[in-house]
Symmetry: C2
Subunit: 902 residues, 2 copies
């Protein structure tokens, strides 16, 4: 038997089914499914995606079997529809549509009304008794076909605005002008008849070929045009963005036409089986009488509410389908129930009513926003439609962001003027008055103002201004820049890398998109998509505590997941926030942020400048009480849970970026000369600080820093233990590349623990472990794990060193890399599984080869990225750690990973 390339559907049965999306595309598979269910779908057939691949592998030709199979399928459609393709007396008309495995909306071609010519036109008129409708259908065919099929087949690549379609539209406009009418519908049958003549002449002139009258030529032209459009520019670039492989191919669905525009007993509409904005279990949709589907979608006419429940204050006077055609609405509502039960998920459907008869044209899984996804999933469990695991999988982890952050009111946002677009570094929405320095931010907020801090880029010295700001906006930097990291850590709205901003910090003014924005002017930010708006755009705050469905869903997620979820937090309030979000400990405390307070930076600088070890030790010991206090706060906020504290990591020069006045002052303070101080600061300058004297290299060169930090941790632990508070400090050595480095630092840490226990008479548990953040650490993880009790993958730095990418400098080439698909995505956002992931897996395996119970986690930015969390689950990590506002996302993603990889 020859290979089956054509799958039929209609008349209550079908060759295909919903599971055959790979072969039939989403549209074709679901049409088949509906047909099998006995739901009324216009009969038709689907040519498989295999034909698409064949087509491209065989110089744009078809398998020999195809023509006969198409003919046979067509005959069957004719049988069901009681009409014949090309029959002047009783013509069957067809639509030809694309359909890939996953939806690529608007990226490929469609041809409608195929089968019309001068002869069948007459038949259509006779059959429908609607002359205007028939001429309009023919007019539409010519416009569509000449554009989609003929112009492309002729190899014409018209300049922008010079294509055949545009010229035909011009002709139509010209006629409307001449007749002083506005709407297409104002053209009469006679007008359209004339227009068709003009169209045909123009097509001949522009393309150099007659418009084909042969219905079979039309059908094969249409099929070819759809396959052709799989490799159109739009489709290719969409696939690049969405990561859809070229070899999937598209199917072609040929289906008998039904018309919603045959008069007042005809209609068309789109609907969701539940409200996609709220998740409410209400049939939700829009419809138009006497219209074609494209009219609803294109928004040319404002559609009507589907039923009484859908009515709003604005639409209460408008007739719903429920009122206009009660039996048909009832039939539709019935189909809606059957589809939801059958698919056990919210569906997005299209329907057409042709002269009082309902036809379903499409069903697919309905897109919904975060709150809706949560509500629908939980309610479906309550309704017994799905089980808990399915409900958990129904919500994309990233969708939770919408439940966690304030967001701009979507309706208001649509009306606002976009000033610029940047990288969506911190989700949520915010509105405030612009200030350009951290000090101004502090001052203005003290006066009770809401501000947005705008900077070229931020540094640790801006942190106090960032903290009080509603949002942070920077002209430079990427998704993992300082601004992005800090803002995201606080769940603060943030847009970075907004290169259109031309900021003059001295004059406190910026220009953007031709506008001048001064200090105090209002702007609004949508940090979830990276859009900056002029003026005030109101925000809305989702109430998470009151969201019972959210709480229930997260409970299920926690039940399924295997991975622990911790948070990255440097301050007690962040730790508390994360704990409220469900964090089970701290996976990363960056101690360096603790050294920037005015009373702390001075001894820090003294320490850095000191030439002798004794002076350095004296200076560093001044920091001990502050550090102890810091750690006590964190331990208290996290009592009963582990707290991982990373020792000082950044290169020292970060603490001594000083202008000449500051140098003078500091020199005076420290009793040294400006020249000496300058020389020391200069000597700290590095060509590649990322690869320089930082991490444990500091603790090895200056063991007194490690001593002080370890002592502060253990003194804090002792003091709280005395009070009956349970603490579990985990001391983490950064940037280890050799076991010797780790062992050097570990010895100091354990010595300090022993000293503190002896001095205080208090014992407490603690662990010592290390970051794995340079490739060598993963390569020799078996050595390191001999002494290290835990590993935490620092995948930010590991990504930098594995690729040899500086995340501060990646802006020079990353956009080109993404655009040209050199990289599928930004490896700092989603863990590069093939490369960096290989090291993560190797590090985990090797580590556990010498210490089977080694605790393994991740504390890079990837710890909050769902795709990366899936990898962490597969690798067998114990936990992921992420910023507080990503904790719920990580919990859900961990549950997904556990369910998917079962």
């Amino acid at each position: 038997m020859s290979k089956k390339y054509v799958f039929e559907f209609g008349g209550g049965k079908a060759d295909g089914k919903a599971e055959m999306k790979e072969l039939l595309g989403g549209k074709g598979a679901n049409l088949a499914e509906m047909a099998s269910l006995g739901i009324p779908v216009p009969p038709g057939f689907t040519i498989t995606t295999e034909v698409c691949n064949y087509y491209y592998q065989h110089n744009k030709s078809y398998p020999p079997e195809l023509e006969a199979q198409v003919k046979q399928a067509l005959a069957n459609v004719e049988g069901i529809m009681q009409a014949k393709f090309g029959d002047p007396a009783n013509p069957l008309l067809l639509s030809i549509r694309s359909g890939a495995r996953s939806s690529m909306p608007g990226m490929m071609e469609t041809v409608l009304n195929v089968g019309l010519n001068e002869k069948t036109l007459k038949g259509l008129i006779a059959k429908t008794g609607n002359e205007r409708f028939a001429y309009d259908a023919y007019r539409r065919l010519i416009m569509m076909y000449s554009d989609v099929v003929m112009e492309k087949a002729a190899g014409i690549e018209p300049e922008e605005g010079r294509g055949v379609r545009v010229q035909l539209e011009h002709a139509m406009e010209k006629m409307k002008k001449k007749l002083h009418v506005v709407q297409d519908t104002d053209l009469t049958a006679a007008d359209l008849k004339k227009l068709i003549k003009i169209f045909k002449t123009k097509v001949k002139t522009i393309i150099g070929k007659e418009f084909p009258d042969d219905p079979y030529e039309q059908i094969w032209g249409g099929i070819g045009a759809v396959f052709q459009s799989w490799n159109g520019k739009r489709a290719i670039s969409y696939r690049r963005i969405e990561g859809i492989p070229d070899e999937w191919g598209t199917a072609v669905t040929v289906q008998s036409m039904v018309f919603g525009n045959m008069g007042d007993k005809s209609a068309t509409g789109v609907a969701f089986t539940r409200n996609p904005a709220t998740g409410e279990n209400v049939f939700y949709g829009e419809w138009l009488v006497n219209a074609q589907g494209e009219d609803v979608v294109a928004g040319i006419r404002t559609p009507n509410p589907l039923n009484m429940k859908n009515k709003t204050e604005d639409t209460k006077e408008i007739q719903s389908l429920e009122e206009a055609m009660p039996p048909l609405y009832k039939e539709l509502a019935n189909i809606r129930d059957r589809l939801e039960k059958h698919y056990t998920d919210m569906q997005d459907i299209e329907f057409t009513i042709q002269e009082g008869r309902l036809w379903m044209l499409q069903t697919r899984t309905g897109k919904r926003n975060g709150p809706a996804a949560v509500k629908a999933a939980v309610e479906m469990v309550r309704e017994g439609l799905i089980d808990e695991a399915t409900a958990v999988l129904r919500v994309r982890p990233a969708q939770l962001d919408e439940l966690l952050h304030d967001m701009l009111d979507p309706a208001e946002e649509q009306k606002a003027r976009v000033l610029a677009k940047g990288l969506p570094a911190g989700p949520g929405g915010a509105t405030g008055q612009v200030v350009f320095t951290a000090d101004d931010a502090a001052k203005w907020t003290k006066e009770g103002k809401k501000i947005i801090l705008v900077r070229h880029e931020t540094s640790p010295e801006d942190v106090h201004g960032m903290h009080v700001a509603e949002a942070v906006l920077t002209a430079r930097g990427g998704m993992t820049s300082h601004a992005a990291l800090v803002a995201r850590g606080w769940g603060k709205c943030c847009i970075v890398g907004c290169s259109a901003l031309d900021i003059d910090t001295n004059k406190k003014v910026m220009t953007v998109s031709g506008r001048t924005i001064k200090e105090g002017d209002w702007i609004s930010l949508n940090g979830s998509v990276g859009r900056v708006y002029e003026g005030k755009v109101p925000s809305v705050r989702p109430d998470l505590a009151a969201n019972k469905e959210y709480t229930e869903l997260m409970g299920w997620a926690d039940k399924f997941r295997k991975l622990g979820v911790r948070t990255n937090a440097d301050r007690p309030q962040d730790a508390a926030q994360a704990r409220a979000f469900g964090a089970e400990g701290i996976g990363l405390t960056r101690t360096e942020h603790m050294f920037f307070g005015p009373e702390r930076i001075k001894p820090m600088r003294e320490m850095i400048i000191a030439e002798k070890e004794a002076d350095r030790r004296e200076a560093v010991m001044k920091l001990l009480p502050f550090q102890r206090q810091d750690f006590m706060g964190l331990f208290e906020a996290m009592q009963g849970l582990p707290v991982t504290i990373r020792l000082l990591d950044p290169p020292l020069h970060e603490f001594v970026t000083l202008d000449s006045d500051q140098i003078k002052e500091l020199a005076k303070d420290l009793g040294t000369t400006v020249k000496k101080l300058k020389a020391r600061v200069e000597s700290l300058h590095e060509l590649n600080p990322m690869l320089g004297h930082r991490g444990c290299r500091l603790g090895i060169a200056y063991p007194e820093i490690t001593e002080m930090q370890a002592r502060a941790i253990f003194e804090a632990a002792a003091e709280l233990t005395k009070k009956g508070i349970k603490v579990y400090p985990e001391v983490m050595v950064p940037l280890v590349g050799t076991a010797t480095e780790y062992n050097h630092q570990e010895a100091i840490i354990r010595r300090m623990a022993a000293e503190v226990m002896k001095e205080t008479g208090v014992t407490f548990e603690y662990l010592v472990g290390t970051m794995i953040e340079v490739p060598r650490a993963a390569l020799v993880a078996d050595d390191i794990a001999k002494t290290a009790e835990f590993f935490s993958f620092g995948t930010n730095d590991l990504t930098q060193t594995t690729f040899g990418f500086s995340r501060d400098d990646i802006g020079g080439f990353l956009p080109i890399y993404l655009q040209q698909r050199i990289l599928p995505e930004d490896p700092f956002q989603s863990l590069d599984e093939r490369g960096v992931g290989q090291l993560v897996e190797m590090g985990t395996k090797k580590g556990r080869s010498t210490r089977p119970k080694l605790k393994v986690g991740i504390c890079g930015e990837h710890g909050g990225d769902p795709k990366s969390i899936d990898l962490c689950h597969r690798v067998g990590m114990d936990y992921v750690s992420c910023s507080p506002f990503r904790v719920p996302i990580a919990r859900l993603a961990a549950a997904h990973a556990a369910l998917i990889n079962k």
Copy 2:
């Protein structure tokens, strides 16, 4: 039977042998070997290294069996020597010496004349009839023993210059002064007798204990002192430097004393079985009559030539041993012959003649310099002593350096004043007048002067000055800094990181070690050890071409080695030099050096500044003729051999480091504004340029650069092919981390090749491949090798990214890391086998898993490092590539690798 801890030797037989160095130490094993051969050695016994380990594992106590075994061995020695330990009538005296598996000269303790006390002293006088000799021996014992054994056992740690030994020496000096004598030998027996009394009183006062009279207490004290000294400060730090494991331990050899200082029929000497400075097959040594061994070694007296052949112009009047004691010399020469035949290698021996009887005290493999090693090895093959493989293994590859470079005349060097010490970046010696800028270097050399270029550090813009300089000296930078790389590439003498230099480039003066060196002052450099001398120190040039032994040895090496050896060269003259040294192709041409000529840098800068692609393309195409010329030169120099050319690698900002005048001028030249130009230059600034927009990231962002370079390569290939010159270009894409990056660049390169072949009608072979220099490339090497035809490991960058070390900034912590043994060695000098080596092996294996015939090489600095070459051999690489002057070293190292890993 109880475990054997004591191995005896003497009287023509021995328990041990030369192969038992692990157990008996080098000294003990060779004494046993000589005894077995019937060579006269003073009888004795060796306590094994196992006892040393036992000693430290058991709280400094001995195995219970030891005492009995020592007693038995001592009795046997007494039997052979016909004397008794501690016998007042006929006393046996002993020496107690250390002996580790490999020589640790002077790092551990020795005690001589053990067994002397007031009673045996009398016996010794009676036996020898030499009162003065006996008192002197006793005096020596007290000095040595009180210092080495007593003071340490008492736990006294005297301040510098306050130890017992120094105080005894002072007492002796005081007596000599009082008696108005100069030499120790001027003290009479009576004087010494008095001195001994003073000594004993002093010892009692200082240490609080009587000097022990019991010979057995003396012997056990001595044994303990030797074991104790294994963990002395000096010994530990020596082991750290030499990489000797702590667990080897030392053996202790107890041997009957023989005296070369018993009168005119006694003598002592050291000798080499061949000349260790030239390798000549001449018995070579020094001797002293009536002296102890330490007198020869310490250089207190100037020793005499051993034989007639050793005499020089200066020593022709001095009596040789050959003349003074002909029969004994003959016996010694005879032993020399037997030892060389037996050990089949040059020996370093010590002997003593006691009253007309010859005793051999030591034999070990003689240290020799490079030329001597080559000559001796080849001559030994000719003599039938060893085979060719052994000869090849006898020369350490690094020793060849001495044959390749001019070197300071060693005799003159000894007399010169050392100004400073830096890192030995480029071996050899040089002398010249100091200049401080590259332009001055060029100017002065044009005037016929020999200059040494002194800089803080060098940049590509200094290259013209570096090239004409005799040597380069920098205050900053490490072994792989720009200066080091470039100088080494040219075989030029170079010292870097000489931090003692305080350079004022404006004033053209530097101060160092309290001296002020002005422009034009003479200095001299020994780049092999990193020493800077004041004034002129003459150099000597080894004549390689005339060195038949070198040529012969290298021929054998080439026969044995499996690895190919290529060179890294950017200029035809370097390529030719390397070819003369035996290079079999170019493994790395860095094209960026080609863009710094004045007529080239301008279009380069135009290209960088250009905003539009068309302008950039126009600018870059101006470079095409220059590049083509560059490549033609290289291809011609290397005709018949492959030439690997790496596409542009460094970040663009390296080409636009401009001062404000240059910016003004360039802005004018390019028809742009200073502001715009500044902004562009500023925009190229990167925080971590090492990890920034460089390597193939440039070629992907600016494909026209790749097009131009590929075209230049292929046009050059076509033109030479037309002339009948065989060319094998291998185009290398730098800094690849993903197969997509490589494929992008490869497509351009192959397109250019096809275009050039079509345009010229000439066909030629070529390969396209890539550097493997970021960890990800090794991790996904199987992907990359699907399309790449060769890999070249760029282990400089791979080391940087694997460790996360910037080689420019490593100076901040590397010294501490080496000192504290966090790292065993600088990973930029010798490939880190455990970490980076793992990636090299993985990359090779994975690459060959998809392309079994993948050509694999190395072109990092490690390609010239013998230890790293051994790894490259084991990994199964096809070739190593190194700077021209390291080619012979690499050839020899490759032969070693092949022979050792057989």
